[in-house]
């Protein structure tokens, strides 16, 4: 903090000194000269100032031109941007570009998704066949990709939560079961009202 203040003070001092030196030089230049000569000198100075401005503009364009002629191609190579959202879609999830918040580990994610699918199939194979083939099974299969996509979007910052899919699968199955049962209830309700 102190060092920065000292630097600031030094810069200020140097600026002041340069300003005083320029004023002194100007005074000496005009000292003892006739009004005609002073006017003449002032005119030349203003012409030179305008010349300097043009010079700076020219230097600016020339710098840009030279930089565009010699891009840094010798030491560096172009890096191809990975479209992570698209890669995740290739792995089977339904995600939009804005759903992906952090850089994923695509290789690991591939294995994780495979594991989720295996967990789901294992669950489905363990329930009675007539139940698995009922509307419950159809609904569970239809919504599964959306379910694992949501699981990914919600837990993408945490590899341990991503890998630990069992609690999410249980919630999903419970939700589908409730929907299935309520569908059955409403069918019975409609049937009873009809007669």
């Amino acid at each position: 903090m102190k060092r920065r203040n000292r630097k600031k003070e030094l810069r200020h001092k140097l600026k002041q000194e340069a300003y005083v030196a320029r004023a002194k030089e100007k005074r000496e230049r005009y000292e003892g000269k006739s009004e005609y000569i002073r006017d003449y000198l002032k005119e030349i100075e203003s012409i030179e100032a305008s010349y300097n401005r043009q010079l700076d503009e020219y230097v600016e364009t020339e710098v840009e031109r030279q930089l565009s002629l010699n891009p840094e191609v010798k030491q560096y190579h172009e890096i191809e941007e990975i479209d992570y959202a698209s890669e995740i879609r290739h792995l089977g999830l339904v995600v939009s570009n804005s759903d992906v918040r952090v850089v994923p580990d695509l290789v690991e994610l591939g294995y994780i998704i495979k594991g989720w699918k295996e967990d789901f199939e294992e669950f489905m194979s363990e329930i009675p066949e007539n139940y698995a083939n009922s509307d419950f099974g159809v609904m569970a299969r239809e919504g599964f990709i959306d379910e694992i996509s949501t699981h990914f979007v919600d837990n993408q910052e945490s590899p341990s939560k991503l890998r630990n899919y069992q609690p999410s699968l249980q919630n999903y199955v419970r939700e589908i079961r409730e929907r299935y049962l309520s569908q059955g209830t409403s069918t019975v309700f409609e049937y009873n009202n009809f007669f």
Binding site: Q66, L67, E72, E157
Partner: protein, 63 residues
């Protein structure tokens, strides 16, 4: 007294200094960006940062 100026030499010197400074600045930034891109941390690095770094890197290369 007003001095006579060698404009050609003045321009060449100014351009050379500016180009060299800009190139050093670009190289430094390219190194910084390359390092950031190479050390991206899965599950941590925000995707927007990664995309911004790659685009800036390629723009500096003139791609």
């Amino acid at each position: 007294m007003l001095e006579q100026r060698d404009l050609k030499a003045e321009i060449n010197a100014k351009v050379a200094v500016r180009v060299s400074k800009q190139k050093n600045k670009n190289s430094q930034r390219l190194d910084e960006l390359k390092h950031k891109i190479d050390t991206v941390k899965p599950y941590e690095t925000p995707l927007r940062d990664y995309q911004r770094w790659v685009r800036e890197y390629n723009e500096l290369l003139g791609k």
